[in-house]
Symmetry: C2
């Protein structure tokens, strides 16, 4: 029998071990997806605290059910470790590490590089290695493969197989999770595709194979570039609409009645999170190598970059109605998460506005039901205040920056002198309510 | 009883006459929608030929069923005229005239202006006037209203009512037509809204009212700007993907498996038709008055402008493989309509590419099952050739510019030396097939 048919037989019998590098919002749900099917999973992370928490079945990811984690840890089917030499026990290894951009919007590949060195040093022949971290097209073939071959001395296609399969995790999405979201898989070889499809099909309902890793890499970038471009478009039109006495939210709701050829995007104070503001710039990075400037991504990035400043101007204009300046005013931000009902403030536009308002002398504070403390890019640290009638009433201006379910239009309106509503929570503008 | 309640009573009893100015792809289907409900309709057009055809029940609009037109003309419920004085018989008047851009991408308002002058001169008190032509926000209030009031000596709100309701006609769409596509309605006054809603509800399944004409104007612009921006985005990514050895069509198909937050747009040789390439530039025009540059529309327009040139380069590269130049080569374009299975070549990218190829000395010809002759922007006139095996075989290069149902991948591949496929009709690239 060939290595491939051996492997496929093991997969069919659930007799293989999955290794997952990176126990964050992508890796931990993926680990659970396999472990809940009775497949042995080892989770790897350099952060000891995460390793200890997983082994103690203490959940730290919003989309993971506590009871699921407890179940697989008690059964012994999921273990975590910071000892990467144990990768030699894993036949299927998934890389779910961060891929941040540096301050110059250049990809920071160090996490992928580190994971590949660990894998290369320890993997046994016959291993399937798959990258899930979002990155620029060509990464799997031109960046990951050389490291793996060099460190391992093994040959792709003969001794091991590699693939790219983009994570499609949408934090807070109650309908779609790791298991029921179709998985794109682009392997380098036909054997790799067969093996990868067999492995993912254990944990995930539908696997959609494409012809190469670079196609799979581009798929993820396209999905998030689509979102960046459309949110930026509607934000730009929102700023114009404000000047033209047009309620852009009403426009979007009406356009959404078109039964074909339209998808609604709503404006807001800017784009946050760990995907949409970053992923398109991976493509912009590699495009330069091919002599391309991506004008749509450029324009969208520019709009997103200026949103915090434009929102600060909205706050200035609102306060001006009350003959007040930002300097010396008490300004409370409701919500610092980048989207409602999650505990994640990465790249959140609220933080950027808070920095700018603080720079102008505003006395900044915030509430958030899920986030107790934040540190901004400029290094400002804010402790949350308790959300109350008294707090709202004590402020010169309330900024609705995230529309968490806890915030209701009536309560805020009744207890505020002035509201800047960046989320259309209060649907009507008025003397007191200044809308984006 | 007030004028309004009188009017609503007449509407309820179908005792009112509809006037429709402009008997094109918007006006004629709208006229039919009312007439088929037994409401008397008079169609107005300055083009005598259209008037004569309607009165003879000779259909000239693809989306209109011949039998419907024959039925309402025979019943005498639809008549057409070029005599605008008959507008005095109409209680509900709809303006469905062209709103082109001039060569400097400035709105040409002369058709709307002409219609408003006719209406102003002839309408009786108690008339509802509604603009359906796509135009920049504020047109109804700031451009149309002053003309109507001046010409008629009547007062909006007291003597007549105005509104804007964007046409949402999608030529060739078999599922959605004038009747079953929700209608956006923005009237200037609350009375106008009540009357307009009652009138449209006679002919159209669902009417969605918004707070003002300018909101309704913006709705239509948003819908088509969304399409311009997304098609331009995917066209730009297609050009990059070509360089990166990535099949962009495969990428879009894979991204479309994402069950939320994505809508698929496919690349092509550029954007055609009478809406998407034009409408966003109406907004760009008025935005300047408000001190705004719309960077997303700018970038998208720029991409669209360069597509014909980029496609000419693709043809050059394909011919180069056969050691041929455009100059002196026989180049056949399959399809000149701007989208498949319709007989409309307005703004079609094929025509622009044909001009550029002809400028470079290419011997250009075309086939199209629905269009017998075309005249390009540069004034080149082409007669279609009969689509045959022999014709294809006699060419140096076949360009698939519109994917009409008549064109099949196998037939074209078997009978061509070289194909440049701009529509992914032939899904596989090869020595012979050069894909966008």
């Amino acid at each position: 029998m060939t290595k491939k048919t051996d492997f496929l037989t093991q997969i069919a019998a659930n007799q293989f071990t999955v290794g997952i590098i990176g126990l964050g919002y992508v890796g931990l749900p993926l680990a659970l997806s396999f472990a809940l099917k009775g497949i042995e999973v080892v989770g790897f992370d350099t952060v000891e605290d995460k390793v200890a928490k997983v082994n103690a079945a203490e959940n730290f990811i919003g989309d993971v059910h506590d009871s699921d984690l407890i179940k697989v840890v008690e059964l012994g089917v999921l273990k975590a470790t910071s000892d990467f030499s144990i990768l030699d026990m894993c036949q299927a290894i998934f890389i779910c590490v961060p891929t941040p951009l540096d301050v110059f919007k250049k990809p920071d590949m160090s996490f992928i590089e580190g994971a590949c060195i660990h894998i290369g040093k320890h993997m046994k022949p016959g291993t399937f290695v798959c990258l899930e971290s979002t990155t620029y097209p060509t990464t799997t073939e031109d960046f990951m493969l050389p490291i793996l071959e060099k460190e391992s001395g093994l040959k792709e296609g003969a001794d091991f197989w590699i693939a790219f399969s983009p994570e499609r995790v949408d934090p807070g999405n109650k309908e779609f999770n790791t298991q029921n979201t179709p998985k794109i898989l682009g392997a380098l070889s036909e054997e790799g595709r067969e093996i990868g499809e067999a492995i993912y099909s254990k944990a995930i309902d539908k696997v959609h194979c494409v012809s190469s890793p670079r196609v799979a890499e581009m798929v993820k970038i396209l999905e998030n570039t689509y979102r960046l471009v459309n949110i930026s478009l509607i934000n730009e039109l929102a700023l114009l609409s404000g000047k033209m006495d047009i309620d852009i939210w009403e426009v979007v709701d009406a356009a959404a009645t078109k039964p074909y050829g339209f998808q609604a995007f709503y404006p807001g104070p800017g784009i946050g999170g760990h995907c949409i503001p970053l992923d398109p710039f991976y493509l912009e990075h590699i495009a330069k190598k091919f002599g391309f400037d991506l004008s749509m991504i450029n324009a969208a990035g520019h709009i997103n970059n200026m949103m915090a400043h434009r929102m600060t101007i909205k706050i200035t204009s609102a306060l001006n109605r009350h003959k007040k300046a930002i300097n010396g005013s008490n300004i409370l931000f409701l919500g610092v998460a980048y989207k409602p009902n999650i505990a994640d403030e990465r790249e959140s536009p609220a933080l950027k506005i808070m920095d700018e308002v603080a720079n102008k002398g505003g006395i900044v504070s915030f509430c958030d039901p899920q986030i107790p403390v934040v540190k901004t890019e400029q290094g400002n640290e804010f402790q949350r205040k308790a959300y109350s009638k008294e707090l709202l009433n004590s402020m010169d201006c309330i900024v609705i920056s995230t529309n968490h379910n806890e915030y209701t239009a009536d309560f805020i309106q009744e207890n505020s002198a002035l509201v800047v509503d960046l989320r259309n929570l209060i649907r009507e503008s008025s003397e007191k309510v200044y809308k984006l």
